[in-house]
């Protein structure tokens, strides 16, 4: 059971609140990664407020639950906001993001015992392997929960991703739904300028994955894609969603550019962003 099971209208409200949290968190400490966080907000909100089965009484194993792993750990602001809004910890704690003695480290970690986080990430390319291992442990345990993992598209340049991509189909890890945040941007420019990723569908299909595509910034399109992905599990192949997103989505001056990958807005920019992210029901931390 998803503890929230929100309607599309409610998901949109939650997403706007999460985006407010993101820009306020990175502004508050003048560092962090707003671009990818804003782009993936609808993905996170879909998982935690509609699709995943989990309990906010967090356990490391998550017996019988769906598990989520974030491989591109730098988009921690969106994950922290969603975990807090979903009920894993008090939203007030979001104000400690990236500060000394905080559980909300710059990149997610288990070290400080933050509920919802099962592995450290930040050094790229490692999350898919971890998620596959967790999925295989679920199979040994005859646990029906699914394992979700999100990777950035630039992250696919790491070799370990392709080691893992070869392994999962070979071992028929079919209780796994990976997603690539295909925003086309990385630190030094567009992915196609820096290191062209080419035809990702063809690449993953050649490796033996069940490949789906989705619009990651439109709930009306994203939810059906997820439902298709869930129904594709248990059929002998790992599933991957190539999810188109726009970096900085929801804040017009941050959209579509790699420039807001790891830069915080100033006071004036924050005000403009918050005006664009009005919400009706929730409240800022």
């Amino acid at each position: 059971m998803n503890p929230h099971n929100q309607s599309i209208d409610e998901l949109k409200q939650t997403a706007a609140q999460v985006r407010r949290d993101i820009v306020r968190m990175v502004h508050g400490v003048n560092s962090g990664h707003p671009g990818g966080s804003l782009g993936c907000t609808d993905y996170f909100v879909s998982l935690y407020f509609r699709l995943m089965n989990y309990s906010t009484d967090f356990t490391m194993e998550g017996k019988g639950e769906d598990l989520f792993f974030l491989s591109n750990g730098h988009i921690s602001p969106v994950w922290y906001s969603v975990l807090a809004r979903a009920g894993f910890f008090d939203v007030k704690e979001l104000s400690t993001f990236r500060k000394l003695n905080s559980r909300l480290q710059g990149h997610p970690t288990t070290h400080e015992g933050l509920p919802g986080v099962r592995i450290a990430s930040g050094s790229l390319g490692q999350g898919l392997s971890v998620a596959i291992g967790a999925a295989q442990a679920k199979k040994i345990n005859k646990d029906k929960g699914l394992v979700y993992v999100l990777m950035g598209d630039g992250e696919l340049e790491e070799g370990q991703v392709w080691e893992a991509s070869m392994y999962a189909p070979h071992h028929k890890v079919d209780n796994l739904i990976a997603t690539v945040d295909r925003n086309g941007q990385q630190i030094d420019g567009s992915t196609e300028e820096v290191m062209s990723l080419g035809d990702l569908r063809a690449k993953f299909e050649a490796f033996g994955w069940h490949v789906l595509e989705a619009d990651g910034n439109n709930f009306e399109l994203l939810l059906p894609a997820f439902e298709e992905a869930i129904s594709a599990t248990g059929k002998g192949k790992p599933v991957i969603i190539l999810m188109d997103t726009e970096m900085g989505f929801g804040v017009d001056f941050m959209m579509g550019s790699h420039k807001w990958h790891g830069v915080a807005p100033n006071d004036e920019q924050l005000e403009i962003a918050l005006q664009q992210l009005a919400v009706k029901v929730a409240a800022d931390y």
Binding site: G122, V130, G133, Q136, I140, Y167
Partner: protein, 338 residues
């Protein structure tokens, strides 16, 4: 003269009657077989134990475990980075993964994966590393890692174990399943004498006294423990009473045992099949420097890579024989008495 070692002078010692505890063996075996047999046994004892191997099942002696527990064994192929991540992920479902590959590919090749996904994340992964050091022999320096103890001991949360013979490796392999946390277990390829009792309990972090002595302390790990015993006999014949201690756990170091021994003997030889930088010797020196410094001589590889050759030839060329330990002991005693 610079570069030439001073002749050790050991006044009056030759007249002393010195006895060394007798150590014998009837069989030689490789420590990796101790790992393979231990893995099978711990697999029978604990259903959460799983095995992962990067295309080296035969070399790591993991075949018996694979055969008996096919549903708990995972062939990863030549993809060690992925193997470390998989193992970290499996711990989340309560599994106790034992990863198997050569020491080089268990550490240097995958340092960042171990650092982030295993050590920093405090995952209960047992990194089992064969063919450590020079004694894998003819394959040469690409495969002879001499830096692995240093890399692994520098990682917070990591336990580092280097057992000395078949029995101790088997016991260690079984014991680490009961410890909740990441472990680096280092062993090797050559057949070496089995001299520890088959029923000796393996206690992580607890040094093993092999011979009590008064003139110097020899702290040895891994394959060098047997060499230390051989050296102890030679030293006893010369009237030198060597205390010999097996440091199978380099981290956490049994500081208490080290300090107690050196308080009695006043000087030290450390012996390891590893670079002299960053290994057991440095751990001993650090413990002594923080408490009561003492003259220390290193028997270790002198900051170089290895090369092709037979294990014995390599140990000779790189200064890791019982005679090297004897010479180091005489230097240490001479410095103590200077």
């Amino acid at each position: 003269m610079y570069g030439v070692l001073q002749q050790a002078t050991i006044p009056d010692l030759k007249k002393k009657k010195t006895q060394m505890k007798e150590y014998t063996y009837t069989e030689k075996k490789d420590t990796r077989s101790g790992f393979g047999d231990g893995l099978l046994e711990v697999g029978r004892q604990n259903p959460n134990v799983v095995g992962l191997c990067a295309d080296l099942i035969g070399s790591l002696k993991m075949g018996a475990f694979q055969k008996e527990f096919p549903e708990r064994f995972f062939q990863v192929g030549i993809a060690e980075a992925n193997m470390m991540g998989l193992a970290a992920g499996m711990t989340i479902g309560g599994k106790i993964p034992y990863t198997g590959t050569f020491a080089n590919f268990s550490t240097g090749r995958v340092y960042d994966q171990i650092r982030q996904s295993i050590a920093y994340s405090s995952k209960n992964v047992k990194i089992c590393a064969s063919h450590a050091g020079l004694t894998l022999g003819e394959d040469g320096a690409t495969h002879q890692i001499l830096e692995d103890i240093g890399m692994m001991k520098m990682l917070p949360h990591m336990t580092v174990i280097n057992p000395c013979d078949y029995n101790q490796t088997k016991a260690a392999t079984i014991a680490i399943a009961d410890y909740d946390g990441p472990v680096y277990l280092r062993f090797g390829r050559p057949s070496v004498p089995i001299f520890t009792p088959a029923d000796q309990k393996f206690e992580i972090g607890k040094a093993v006294m092999l011979n009590e002595g008064t003139d110097l302390s020899i702290f040895a790990t891994g394959h060098l423990v047997w060499k230390a015993i051989l050296a102890g006999k030679i030293l006893a014949d010369k009237g030198i009473s060597a205390e010999i201690i097996n440091i199978h756990t380099i981290k956490p170091l049994d500081t208490e045992a080290v300090l107690a021994s050196v308080a009695k003997t006043g000087c030290v030889v450390s012996a390891e099949e590893h670079n002299r930088i960053g290994g057991l010797g440095d751990s001993i020196a650090q413990a002594l420097a923080s408490s009561k410094p003492a003259p220390q001589e290193y028997v270790a590889v002198n900051d170089s890579f290895g090369e092709s050759g037979t294990p014995d030839e390599l140990m000779e060329k790189y200064g890791l024989t019982e005679n090297d330990i004897v010479a180091a002991a005489e230097r240490a005693i001479s410095r103590k008495n200077a």
